[in-house]
C-alpha cells in the first residue's frame, strides 16, 4: 500500500493529526502556563511503574552507548576514534532530548536547536520529513558550536507518525575553511569558515545522496575523514533509531510517548532538586576576559588587525526553587574574527559545565534546559546580530567566558560543605595547534592536534590539580600518542613534557600543563596557527590561589636545525623556563617569534622550522604560603615548579644535595614570616584602595583595548552601563 507523494506530504506527521509546528507550539504553551514540561503534573509512570520506567530508560540509554561504541570504529579521525569526539542522542518529535550517550555532550542541546530550526521552518512541508531521510547541520547560528562539529539527524517513524529523532555529532579534522585545520581563523566573516550545511536534507532511504557526498569531498581537505565520519554518524543514529523502535515494540507506543514526556519533566525536577541540594540561592559574579593582540599580525584580515579584548561578565543567579540563570549582560560586541558565539554554543557550554559539576549523571536530558535560563545580550560576541559572522573557533571566547561558572558553583559548594567538589575552575584549553599543507605522504592535508584536550586541571579544595588531564569541553581528555600524531602531521616531536610552573600556585597547586616542541619535517611548507591567551589570565584561581600561567609564542623560522643535526650538535628538546629558554639557547633562526602573542593567524612554516605548543596548567586554590613546603620541594625536584618560584611565590628555602633539593625548614619558616609581614606592610585600607582605583576609572586610565572593550559593553547594554557607573560611583558626565 503506498499513497501518492503529495498526499503523504499533506498529512501531518505529528501526533493526533497535528503538525510538528502545532505540537511545538502546544509544548511551549503548556510550559508557559504550568511551568512544567508539556504540562505534566503527575509522573504517573514513574510513580506507578518505577521498574518499567527504569527499564525503558536503561534500554534507550544502553542503545545510545552501544551505538556510540560501535560507530566510532568507522571513523578514520583520531579525534573521533581515539579522543571520543562524538555523541548520540534521541529526541522527542519537538526536538527535546530524552537520553544521550557518553561523549561530547556539549551537543545535546545544539542538535535540539537544529531540529527545532527544521520544525520552525516547516520542513514538514518542504523538503518533507519522512522515514529514511537524513539531515545534516553544522551551522552554529542554527544550532551547533562551530562549523567543525557536524550533526546527522534522522527522524524516527512509527507507522505514519513521527515518534522522535535520533542524532549524532562528530568533530571534523577539516571543514574546508579558507585555511587548513578544522577551526581556522584570521579571516573576517563566515565566507572563510568552510562548508556550511544548514539543517539540509542530504539523503533518503537511509543513504546519502551521492551529490551531497561529492560536494563535501570537493569542499573539504582530507575528505576521507569527512566521508567516513558521515558514515559514523549515520550508523550510530540508525542504531539509536532501531533501539527506540525495539523499545516501542516491547512497551507499546502509548507508554513510550508517556515516558518521553515524563522523562523530561522528571529531568527538570531532578535538576531543580539537585540545585537546591548543592547550591545557595543568590547572585554570583565571576567575570573573565581574554586578549586578542592582532594589531600587528599581518596574517589576519585587515578588519581584524587591532588589539582587542573579550569581556564576559558572567553572573549566575540561583533562585529559591533551584532555577539557575546565567547572564552575560554586559558582554562586548562581536567583531571581524572567528571567535563569535551564537546562543547555541553558549547553551552547549553551559551543558558541559553542568554535567561536570551539578549533574554528572547518565540521566541528564533536556529537563535541565527547562530548569535553566541563559541571558545573552543581542549584538554581543555571545549573540551576534549579524548572522554572517565567523564562528569557526567560538571556543576561544567561550572557554574563558565560562570559567567563572566553576568558581561560582565552588563558592556555593563551600557554603554547603561539599568541600571535595570545589575546584578552582578549569584551565583554558590552549595552545590549539592546527594547520596543514603538503604532508609527508606528498598530498595536501590538514590536521588539528587534540593534545589540547589535556590541560592541567584546577586545584581542588583537598588536593592539587592533575597534570595534563582534561579540557573544559571534554572531561575525558586524552593526549593521544606521539607516534599517532606524527603519522598524521609532518612535524617531528623534539619533545613532549611537563611545562614547569604552568600550574597556578596556591595552597593546592593547579595541575601542571605540558609543552611539545615540533620541527617541520618531510615537507617544504605548512600553514600553522597558534591559539591561546597570552597577555591575559582567563581562569583566575580561588581563595588566594593564583591563575595558571598564560601562554606565549615561541617559533623559529629559517632555523639552523639541519646543520646542528648534521654536526651532531645539541638542539632543544623543549623550551622549559622561558626566561632561560632552551629554544633560544640551542637553536638560531632568521626569524624568532618569542612573545606573548599567543594567538596568531595562519603563518607559513618551512622544513626545519620549530613550533612550540604549550598546553596550559590549571588555576590554584588557597594561599601559596600555606602550601606544605615539602610539596614545593618535591615539585621542584620532579620539574613541576621552577626553582626560583619556590622562594618568591611559596616562600620555601631549599638547599641542593646532589641532583636534588632538600627543604630548609627553619629558613622557610623565617622567610614565610617575613613575607607575611611584608604583605601587611604593603596592604592598604579597602576604602583607600577603592578610591585609588575609582580615580583611575574617572581618569579613564585604561589601555586602549580595555577602554574599547568597556566602551563596547556600555554601548550595547544600558543595564551594564548603569551597573558599572553605580559600582564606581561615577559622575553623570563620565563616558568612554
Amino acid at each position: 500500500m503506498s499513497a501518492p507523494a503529495e498526499q503523504l506530504q499533506s498529512k501531518p506527521i505529528g501526533w493526533d493529526g497535528k503538525t510538528l509546528i502545532e505540537m511545538t507550539e502546544e509544548s511551549k504553551r503548556l510550559f508557559e502556563e504550568t511551568g512544567r514540561y508539556y504540562g505534566v503534573e503527575d509522573l504517573t509512570l514513574l510513580r506507578d511503574q518505577p521498574i518499567l520506567y527504569e527499564k525503558i530508560f536503561s534500554r534507550l540509554r544502553g542503545g545510545l552507548v552501544n551505538a556510540r561504541s560501535t560507530a566510532l570504529n568507522i571513523s578514520a579521525s583520531p579525534i573521533v576514534r581515539e579522543l571520543g569526539e562524538l555523541s548520540f542522542a534521541i529526541y522527542t518529535p519537538e526536538g527535546d532530548s530524552i537520553a544521550l550517550s557518553t561523549g561530547i555532550i556539549v551537543h545535546v542541546h545544539t542538535m535540539s536547536d537544529a531540529i527545532k530550526y527544521m520544525i520552525k521552518h516547516n520542513y514538514e512541508q518542504t523538503p518533507g520529513i519522512r522515514d529514511g531521510f537524513i539531515f545534516c547541520n553544522n551551522n552554529s547560528m542554527i544550532g551547533d558550536v562551530h562549523t567543525a562539529d557536524v550533526h546527522t539527524i534522522i527522524p524516527i517513524f512509527h507507522e505514519d507518525e513521527l515518534v522522535g529523532w535520533a542524532a549524532g555529532v562528530t568533530h571534523e579534522v577539516d571543514v574546508g575553511g579558507i585555511n587548513p585545520g578544522s577551526m581556522c581563523y584570521g579571516h573576517a566573516d563566515r565566507y572563510g569558515d568552510g562548508i556550511l550545511v544548514s539543517s539540509e536534507l542530504v539523503g533518503e532511504n537511509d543513504e546519502f545522496y551521492e551529490h551531497y557526498l561529492q560536494r563535501c569531498r570537493e569542499c573539504v581537505r582530507a575528505e576521507m575523514y569527512w566521508v567516513l565520519d558521515e558514515k559514523t554518524r549515520l550508523t550510530g543514529a540508525q542504531m539509536a533509531r532501531r533501539q527506540v523502535l525495539r523499545t516501542i515494540s516491547e512497551v507499546g507506543l502509548d507508554t513510550y510517548k508517556k515516558f518521553m514526556r515524563e522523562a523530561i519533566e522528571e529531568g527538570r525536577r531532578t535538576f531543580l532538586q539537585r540545585s537546591k541540594t548543592m547550591l545557595v540561592p543568590g547572585r554570583y559574579e565571576a567575570p573573565s576576559f581574554t586578549d586578542l593582540p592582532w594589531a600587528d599580525d599581518v596574517n589576519v584580515h585587515g578588519q581584524a588587525r587591532k588589539d582587542m579584548m573579550m569581556h564576559a561578565p558572567l553572573s549566575m543567579t540561583v533562585k529559591g526553587d533551584g532555577q539557575v540563570e546565567m547572564s552575560f549582560e554586559g558582554a562586548n560586541k562581536w567583531d571581524y574574527h572567528s571567535f563569535n558565539c551564537a546562543p547555541s554554543p553558549m547553551q552547549g557550554a553551559m551543558w558541559v559545565q553542568l554535567t561536570q559539576t551539578l549533574w554528572n549523571s547518565d540521566k541528564i536530558n533536556d529537563g535541565a534546559y527547562f530548569a535553566t535560563d541563559l541571558k545573552l545580550p543581542y549584538g554581543s560576541w555571545a549573540n551576534p546580530d549579524w548572522e554572517k559572522v565567523s564562528t569557526t573557533l567560538t571556543w576561544f571566547f567561550l572557554i574563558p567566558g565560562w570559567s567563572g561558572m566553576i568558581r561560582s558553583v565552588g563558592r556555593s559548594y563551600f557554603a554547603r560543605g561539599f568541600l571535595e567538589d570545589i575546584s578552582a575552575s578549569y584551565c583554558t584549553s590552549w595552545n590549539l595547534m592546527q594547520g596543514g599543507g603538503p604532508n609527508q605522504y606528498g598530498v595536501d592535508g590538514a590536521f588539528t592536534n587534540f593534545e589540547v584536550s589535556c590541560g592541567g586541571t584546577g586545584a581542588l579544595y583537598v588536593k592539587d590539580g592533575e597534570t595534563a588531564c582534561a579540557a573544559m569541553w571534554n572531561p575525558e581528555g586524552d593526549m593521544g600518542e606521539v607516534e599517532s600524531w606524527e603519522s598524521m602531521e609532518p612535524l617531528l616531536y623534539l619533545g613532549r613534557g611537563v611545562k614547569p610552573s604552568s600550574g597556578g600556585p596556591g595552597k593546592y597547586r593547579g595541575g601542571t600543563g605540558s609543552e611539545a616542541l615540533r620541527m617541520v619535517y618531510n615537507t617544504h611548507a605548512q600553514t600553522l596557527f597558534n591559539g591561546g591567551e597570552g597577555h591575559c589570565f582567563s581562569s583566575y584561581g580561588v581563595y588566594g590561589g593564583y591563575p595558571g600561567c598564560s601562554g606565549y609564542r615561541h617559533n623559529m623560522h629559517g632555523s639552523d636545525m639541519k646543520k646542528r643535526i648534521e654536526n651532531g650538535e645539541p638542539f632543544p628538546r623543549l623550551d622549559g623556563d622561558p626566561e632561560d629558554s632552551q629554544i633560544s639557547a640551542l637553536c638560531e633562526a632568521e626569524e624568532e617569534n618569542f612573545d606573548m602573542k599567543a594567538i596568531q593567524g595562519p603563518k607559513h612554516f618551512g622544513e626545519y622550522d620549530l613550533y612550540l605548543s604549550m598546553n596550559r596548567g590549571g588555576p590554584g586554590l588557597g594561599d601559596p604560603l600555606e602550601r606544605d613546603p615539602r610539596s614545593v620541594v618535591h615539585d621542584v625536584n620532579i620539574g613541576h615548579v621552577l626553582e626560583r618560584f619556590a622562594k618568591s611565590l611559596y616562600g620555601v628555602e631549599m638547599t641542593r644535595e646532589g641532583e636534588s633539593f632538600v627543604l630548609d625548614e627553619a629558613a622557610t619558616q623565617k622567610l614565610r614570616d617575613s613575607m607575611r609581614k611584608k604583605r601587611l606592610e604593603q596592604s592598604v585600607d579597602a576604602k583607600e584602595f577603592f578610591d585609588q582605583q575609582r580615580q583611575r576609572v574617572i581618569n579613564k586610565d585604561f589601555i586602549r583595548p580595555v577602554r574599547d572593550m568597556y566602551a563596547s559593553s556600555m554601548d550595547l547594554s544600558s543595564e551594564w552601563n548603569e551597573k558599572f557607573r553605580k559600582f564606581w560611583n561615577l559622575p553623570a558626565d563620565w563616558s568612554l
Binding site: L46, S58, T270, C469, A470, S487, G495
Partner: protein, 717 residues
C-alpha cells in the same frame, strides 16, 4: 602406568584454587589461602585440599600429571601495589616525562560514567619509574622507519653510566618508531653493553623492538616497563611452584595462561601478557566444550560479585583486542575481548533521593555480599540481598554453609532503602530490582550479538561464575538462543578453562602495507602485490622465527608447531582494524590479496552497517600476527550414563518458597552435585552447589546432559 591427570591452578587475591581432572573427565577442586610471599605454599595446601576428595596425596598424583597450568594475580598485585623492580628507562630525547604526563585516559580508565564526567575525581597513576631514572637520548626514526636524526651515542653512554650508578635492576629502552626500524635501539643495546662491561655491571636490557614491536609509543612503553617491573620478578614465584611440582615427583613443565587464550612457558620472553589471565579462562573452556559439541558461535557470560563479563566466540574464534587496559595502564598486548557490561551480584541497589529513581551500582559490596551477611557491616542492600529475600539464594548454602545469611536483614535493607521510598511492597521491589538488572544484561547481550551482525539464534550462550546461573533465565528470556548452557561446575569453570588452553604463542608486529581495491583500481591492485607480499612475508618470517625460539626453550622443535598466519586489516586511513586469518603461509599472488579483501569485507560488513563499507579507500595492513600451537592433553568431557527425567530423591533438599512474577511459588530444591544426566527440572526449581545456584523460574525447564551440562529452554508460548 600411563600418565593421566591435568592440573591447573589459579592463585587469586585471597584464595588459591587447584583443579585436577582425570582421564575420564572427573575432577576435584581444592581451595587454600593465597600466600603472596611464596605462592607455592598456598599451592601445596590447595593441592592437598583437592586430592583428599579422592583420598590421594600430591605425591600419588603428580608423577602422573601430564599438563600443569598456572594463572594468578600476583603479577597484577605487584603492579597495583607498586612493588616491582627498580628500573631505569631510556627513551627518545624530550619524552622523559612519559610517566608524568601519561595519557589523559589513564586518569579515568575503569571509572563509572558518572566519575568519568566529573573531572575532580580523575587521578594520574603513581609513576612506576621515578623521574630521575628516566633518560632521553637524541636521535630520531621517522614514521616511515627512516633515520631523521642520527643517534647521539654519547648521550646513551652518559645515561647508562648514570643508571649503573643508580643500581637499577633493569633498563627499558623505548625509542620512537623502533617497531619500524630498530637500528637505534640495537645501537643503544650495543653501547649499553660496552658501558656495562667497562663498569663490570650486568643489567638486563628490555628493548621495545625486541619484545613488543608494535605502534604507539606510550602504550608500548607501558607494556615493556610492566614486563620488566612486574612480570620479571614472577619468574621466581613460578620457579618455586615448579620446584614443588618436582618435589612431588612431577616432571611436567608448568605453563602460564596468557591473555591471548593460549598458555606459554614460564621461560617465555614476553611474560607481561600473563598479567591478564583470570577472566579469560572461562572463555577458553567454553570454546573447548563448544568445539567438542560442534558449536561455532558462543556467548560467554560470567557474573561475579562485582561485574557481568561478556565475551563472544564467533566462527570458533575469539575477538582479539590489540590495546587493552589493565590496572589503569594502556597496554599493547593481544587480549581476548571481554567486556564488563553490568553490575555483579554484590552491586548496591538504591533509590536516588533526589530523582526517586532506582540505581544499581556502580559500586559494589563485592565479596562482602550484602546486608544479609552478618560478618560484614554493610548498610546498603545489594542484588544478593534481593536474591536471599526472594528465596533464590539459600541462606544456609552460602560458601557451602560456612556463612549463614540473614534474610531478615536483607528484608529490612530492601524495605528501608528501596521499597518504602518507591511505595512498593518489599518483595515486589526486590523482584523489580532484579528484573531491571536482568533486563539491562539482556539488552547488552543482544547488542553485542547484533553488533557482530548476527542474531541470538546463531549463538549458544554459556553461563557460569558464581552468579551467572542465578540470573541466566532472566537475561536470556525471549532472546531465542540456539541453546542456553550452564556447566554443572559453573563456579570452577575458569580453572577448568585454563586446563583447556593450547600451548600457544602469539606474536604481533606492526607493518604498514596497503593496496587498493581490486575492482576499483585493477592496475594499482596488480602493481601492489609484490611490495605487499614482501612486507608481509618478511614480517611473518621474523615472527615465525621468534615463535620457534620460544618453543625451543621447552624442547619443542619447529616441525611440531602448527602455525597460523593473520593480518590485521583496515580501510586505509581508518583506525579500527579487523583480524583476518588466512589459509596460506606466504602471500604469493593476487588471489591471496583477494582472499584478504573478501574475508575483511565479510567481517566488516557484519560488524558495521553495509553503508559504512569504504573500499574506495583501499586496504591497509597494520599488524601481522603469527600464532604457533602445539597440541597438548586437555581434560576429557565427562560422559555419564543418562538416567530418567525424574531427579533421584537423594538429590532433593528441603523445599522452600521462591518469589517470582509477583507471587510465592513452592520450589523444588536440589543438590546440584547429586542430580543425574537425563534429569529434567521444571520451574520453579533451584539447584544448589556450594559456590553457585541455578534458578529455574516458571516458564523454563532445564535438562542435565551426559556431559553434566544443563540445557535451559523456555517452554511458555
Amino acid at each position: 602406568m600411563e600418565k593421566s591427570y591435568i592440573m591447573s591452578m589459579d592463585a587469586g587475591g585471597t584464595m588459591t584454587d587447584v583443579f585436577f581432572v582425570d582421564r575420564d573427565g572427573k575432577f576435584v577442586v581444592g581451595k587454600a589461602q593465597t600466600t603472596p610471599h611464596d605462592e607455592s605454599e598456598g599451592f601445596a595446601a590447595s593441592c592437598v585440599d583437592a586430592l583428599k576428595q579422592w583420598d590421594m596425596k600430591p605425591d600419588d598424583v603428580f608423577p602422573e600429571v601430564i599438563t600443569g597450568i598456572y594463572s594468578g594475580t600476583s603479577m597484577l598485585n605487584r603492579l597495583l601495589e607498586r612493588k616491582g623492580q627498580n628500573l631505569g628507562v631510556i627513551v627518545t630525547a624530550g619524552q622523559e616525562d612519559y610517566f608524568q604526563l601519561e595519557r589523559g585516559i589513564q586518569t579515568y580508565l575503569g571509572y563509572s560514567y558518572q566519575d568519568r564526567l566529573k573531572v575532580v575525581t580523575h587521578r594520574h597513576n603513581e609513576p612506576i619509574v621515578p623521574r630521575k631514572q628516566m633518560f632521553g637520548v637524541r636521535g630520531r626514526i621517522d614514521c616511515f622507519g627512516k633515520q631523521a636524526i642520527p643517534l647521539y651515542e654519547d648521550e646513551v653512554r652518559d645515561a647508562v653510566r648514570q643508571l649503573v650508578g643508580m643500581d637499577v635492576k633493569g633498563i627499558v629502552v623505548n625509542l620512537l618508531y623502533s617497531f619500524a626500524n630498530s637500528d637505534h635501539e640495537q645501537r643503544v643495546k650495543a653501547v649499553a653493553n660496552e658501558v656495562m662491561a667497562e663498569a663490570g655491571a650486568d643489567i638486563p636490557l628490555y628493548l621495545s623492538s625486541d619484545l613488543y614491536p608494535v605502534m604507539q609509543d606510550f602504550a608500548r612503553l607501558n607494556t615493556v616497563t610492566v614486563e620488566a617491573y612486574a612480570a620479571e620478578p614472577s619468574r621466581g614465584q613460578f620457579k618455586r611452584i615448579a620446584d614443588r611440582v618436582s618435589g612431588y615427583g612431577g616432571d611436567t613443565q608448568l605453563r602460564v595462561m596468557a591473555s591471548h587464550g593460549g598458555t606459554i612457558s614460564m621461560d617465555a620472553k614476553e611474560l607481561a601478557r600473563t598479567l591478564i589471565s583470570g577472566p579469560i579462562g572461562g572463555m577458553v573452556g567454553a570454546r573447548y566444550i563448544a568445539e567438542k559439541l560442534g558449536e561455532k558461535n558462543i556467548v560467554c557470560s560470567d557474573i561475579g560479585g562485582t561485574s557481568f563479563d561478556l565475551g563472544l566466540i564467533t566462527d570458533g574464534e575469539f575477538t582479539m583486542k590489540a590495546q587493552p587496559d589493565m590496572a589503569k595502564f594502556m597496554l599493547k598486548l593481544p587480549l581476548i575481548e571481554i567486556d564488563s557490561v553490568g553490575a555483579g551480584t554484590g552491586s548496591y541497589a538504591r533509590v536516588n533521593p533526589i530523582s526517586n529513581r532506582i540505581e544499581i551500582g556502580p559500586d559494589s559490596a563485592g565479596s562482602k555480599v550484602g546486608m544479609c551477611n552478618p560478618q560484614a557491616s554493610e548498610t546498603t542492600p545489594t542484588l544478593s540481598d534481593c536474591n536471599v529475600l526472594l528465596g533464590n539464594l539459600n541462606p544456609y548454602n552460602f560458601l557451602g554453609g560456612d556463612v549463614v545469611l540473614d534474610p531478615d536483614a536483607a528484608y529490612r535493607g530492601v524495605k528501608e532503602h528501596i521499597a518504602d521510598p518507591l511505595g512498593l511492597g518489599v518483595h515486589e521491589a526486590a523482584e523489580g530490582v532484579l528484573e531491571l538488572f536482568e533486563d539491562h544484561l539482556r539488552n547488552e547481550v543482544f547488542a553485542r550479538i547484533f553488533g557482530k551482525g548476527y542474531s541470538p539464534d546463531d549463538y549458544v550462550i554459556y553461563s557460569y561464575g558464581g552468579g551467572g546461573p542465578l540470573h541466566v533465565c532472566g537475561y536470556t528470556a525471549g532472546l531465542k538462543f540456539a541453546d542456553v548452557v550452564v556447566p554443572a561446575w559453573a563456579a570452577g569453570f575458569s580453572a577448568f578453562g585454563c586446563a583447556c588452553a593450547d600451548f600457544e604463542y602469539r606474536l604481533d608486529r606492526t607493518v604498514n602495507a596497503a593496496f587498493p581495491a581490486s575492482d576499483m583500481d585493477p592496475e594499482g591492485f596488480k602493481g601492489a602485490v609484490s611490495g605487499y607480499a614482501e612486507a608481509i612475508n618478511s614480517a611473518w618470517a621474523s615472527l615465525e622465527t621468534r615463535v620457534a625460539e620460544e618453543f625451543d626453550k621447552s624442547g619443542i622443535s619447529s616441525d611440531q608447531v602448527e602455525y597460523k598466519h593473520i593480518v590485521r586489516v583496515q580501510y586505509a586511513g581508518q583506525l579500527n582494524d579487523v583480524e583476518v586469518t588466512v589459509d596460506f603461509e606466504r602471500v604469493e599472488s593476487a588471489e591471496h590479496l583477494q582472499q584478504i579483501i573478501d574475508r575483511f569485507e565479510d567481517a566488516y560488513s557484519k560488524a558495521y552497517s553495509r553503508a559504512a563499507r569504504s573500499p574506495e579507500l583501499g586496504y591497509q595492513t597494520t599488524n601481522v600476527v603469527v600464532t604457533g600451537t602445539v597440541p597438548v592433553e586437555k581434560p576429557a568431557l565427562p560422559v555419564e550414563t543418562v538416567s530418567s527425567e525424574t531427579p533421584p530423591e537423594s538429590a532433593r533438599k528441603e523445599g522452600r518458597k521462591v518469589y517470582r512474577g509477583g507471587q510465592w511459588h513452592e520450589a523444588d530444591i536440589y543438590d546440584m552435585d547429586k542430580v543425574l544426566p537425563g534429569n529434567v527440572f521444571k520451574g520453579v526449581s533451584v539447584l544448589e552447589s556450594p559456590a553457585t545456584t541455578l534458578v529455574i523460574p516458571p516458564g523454563f525447564e532445564a535438562r542435565l546432559d551426559e556431559h553434566r551440562l544443563f540445557h535451559i529452554k523456555e517452554i511458555k508460548g
